[in-house]
């Protein structure tokens, strides 16, 4: 009886730990893939917005050809870098180039009041900002997941499980945070008068 118990402890317990650790790796890898899928969807959405945005700007600022061509080329490069066999670092740099191009394009719009007033442009700009917000949040979630996965993959004893079952390294996705570059544009009805500081009377 004692022998059986000893065997159970010596074999069963490590086996349970292996199963638990393996399942946790599977869960983390699945979560990373799911988060990446959301980034991919949002990047695709951003790519889809660019032609309409360029066309709208072109209608008001046709002689800003250099910026328009830069954005168009950056979009084409970003789409070329999207397939899964392209290294993540290369895709990140292509997306950075597109972010820079779009920032220039939006900066150009500041010089054209009619363009800024155009409802189609404003709608596209809003969609772009919201898309970049989502890219930013999804990218952070993805990197948090990858960091947690990599920490386990390199720690003892879970590195043994990762090595034995082929849980390979995952790369962080580091790109420019386009969301942080935008003006607030939250769209709430503004207070009729005074500031928060003025209304702070009760907290003297």
């Amino acid at each position: 009886m004692e022998t059986i118990l000893t065997l159970l402890v010596l074999v069963g317990l490590p086996l349970l730990l292996v199963i638990w650790s393996y399942n946790r790796f599977v869960g983390q890898a699945t979560s990373i893939d799911a988060t990446w899928a959301t980034i991919d969807t949002e990047l695709q959405r951003r790519h889809d917005l660019v032609p309409n945005l360029v066309a709208t700007v072109q209608g008001y600022a046709a002689h800003e050809q250099q910026v328009l061509a830069q954005v168009t080329e950056a979009r084409a490069a970003a789409i070329r870098a999207a397939p899964e066999d392209v290294p993540l670092e290369q895709q990140a740099r292509a997306e950075d180039a597109l972010t820079s191009g779009l920032s220039s394009l939006l900066a150009v719009s500041e010089s054209y009041p009619e363009l800024k007033a155009d409802s189609v442009f404003r709608d596209l700009q809003r969609q772009l900002i919201e898309t970049e917000d989502r890219i930013s949040a999804s990218r952070r979630l993805y990197n948090i997941e990858v960091a947690s996965y990599e920490r386990r993959r390199r720690s003892v004893p879970s590195n043994l499980i990762a090595g034995a079952f082929g849980f390979g390294p995952r790369t962080m996705f580091e790109i420019q945070d386009a969301a942080a570059q935008h003006a607030a544009q939250v769209g709430f009805p503004r207070a009729s008068g005074g500031s928060a500081a003025d209304a702070d009377g009760a907290a003297r």
Partner: protein, 291 residues
């Protein structure tokens, strides 16, 4: 000196040599030798002093509340902060536990304010109050008798009704002791390990939660909101916990209310613009309104 000596009469033949007291019950001595009359007088005096002090304290708090609401137009006393009834609040946020018996709002004030959402001033309503609730404690004596007592607990709460609706509730509170050492860490993790060690964040939409917790907001919480609870749900932001500063010109708990308001306004002001953009302006929420 024993007071009982003054209440004795000369001994009679039938009484023998024992002194007889006129007020035998009152004049009985306690085991320690102190007469019961003295004890009764002391107790009555103590009760009187306590009642007077309590009355004075309540009067000072009332005066303090009147001073506070007199400072800002449109402010008033309330027991339904921003139209939220205590019944709806009870147990719904970490700052407003239901407790085991009575609960409610006291020393509540509310009024209009201007909060900054994503850099834009926006009109909102804000309320500060003390949430009280009673906790049951049961003890067992050596004879096996169970005694149940109720203890009143309080939390300081600031609450703001926003002109938008947070679609999925987010709760931020202190991480547990086991979580701090990394054993039971749960909830939404962020990039900062220090933040993860200090705070536990529960949110049903991870992307929205991450949009709220940008690095600047994380740092603000670490610097100024440790030990506080934050709850964003529907159109309400609820901040629980005591501020580390107070208005010295106001008495007692009332002196903390302006500080709670400042802390809540600073918190709302610091929420990243992308969080508000993700939510967008919307019609009034209804989750906190009585059905």
């Amino acid at each position: 000196m024993r007071v009982v000596a003054a209440l004795t009469v000369p001994p009679t033949p039938s009484a023998g040599t024992r002194p007889v007291t006129l007020l035998p019950d009152l004049a009985q001595s306690s085991p320690g030798g102190v007469p019961a009359t003295l004890i009764v007088l002391v107790v009555l005096a103590t009760v009187g002093v306590v009642a007077w002090a309590s009355f004075r304290q309540r009067a000072r708090l009332r005066e303090g509340l009147a001073t506070l609401i007199g400072r800002s137009p449109g402010w008033r006393l309330t027991v339904h902060p921003c139209d939220v009834t205590p019944e709806l609040l009870a147990g719904r946020t970490a700052a407003t536990p239901r407790g085991d018996r009575r609960y409610g709002v006291r020393h509540g004030v509310e009024g209009p304010t201007t909060v900054t959402l994503g850099g834009e001033p926006v009109e909102a309503r804000i309320a500060m109050f003390e949430w009280t609730y009673e906790e049951r404690r049961t003890s067992r004596s050596n004879q096996g008798t169970r005694t149940t007592t109720y203890h009143t607990r309080t939390e300081l709460v600031a609450l703001c009704r926003l002109p938008t609706v947070v679609p999925r509730a987010i709760r931020i509170g202190a991480e547990s002791v086991l979580g701090r050492v990394g054993l039971t860490r749960g909830g939404q993790q962020v990039e900062s390990s220090e933040f993860n060690r200090r705070f536990r964040v529960e949110g049903r939409d991870p992307r929205l939660t991450v949009q709220l917790l940008d690095p600047t907001f994380q740092q603000l919480l670490l610097d100024a909101y440790q030990g506080r609870t934050i709850h964003l749900d529907d159109d309400l932001v609820v901040l629980g916990g005591r501020p580390d500063h107070r208005d010295e010109s106001l008495p007692g708990i009332v002196g903390l209310l302006p500080a709670a308001r400042q802390d809540l306004e600073r918190l709302v002001r610091s929420v990243p613009a992308q969080f508000w953009r993700a939510i967008g302006p919307s019609s009034q929420g209804d989750a906190w309104r009585p059905s």
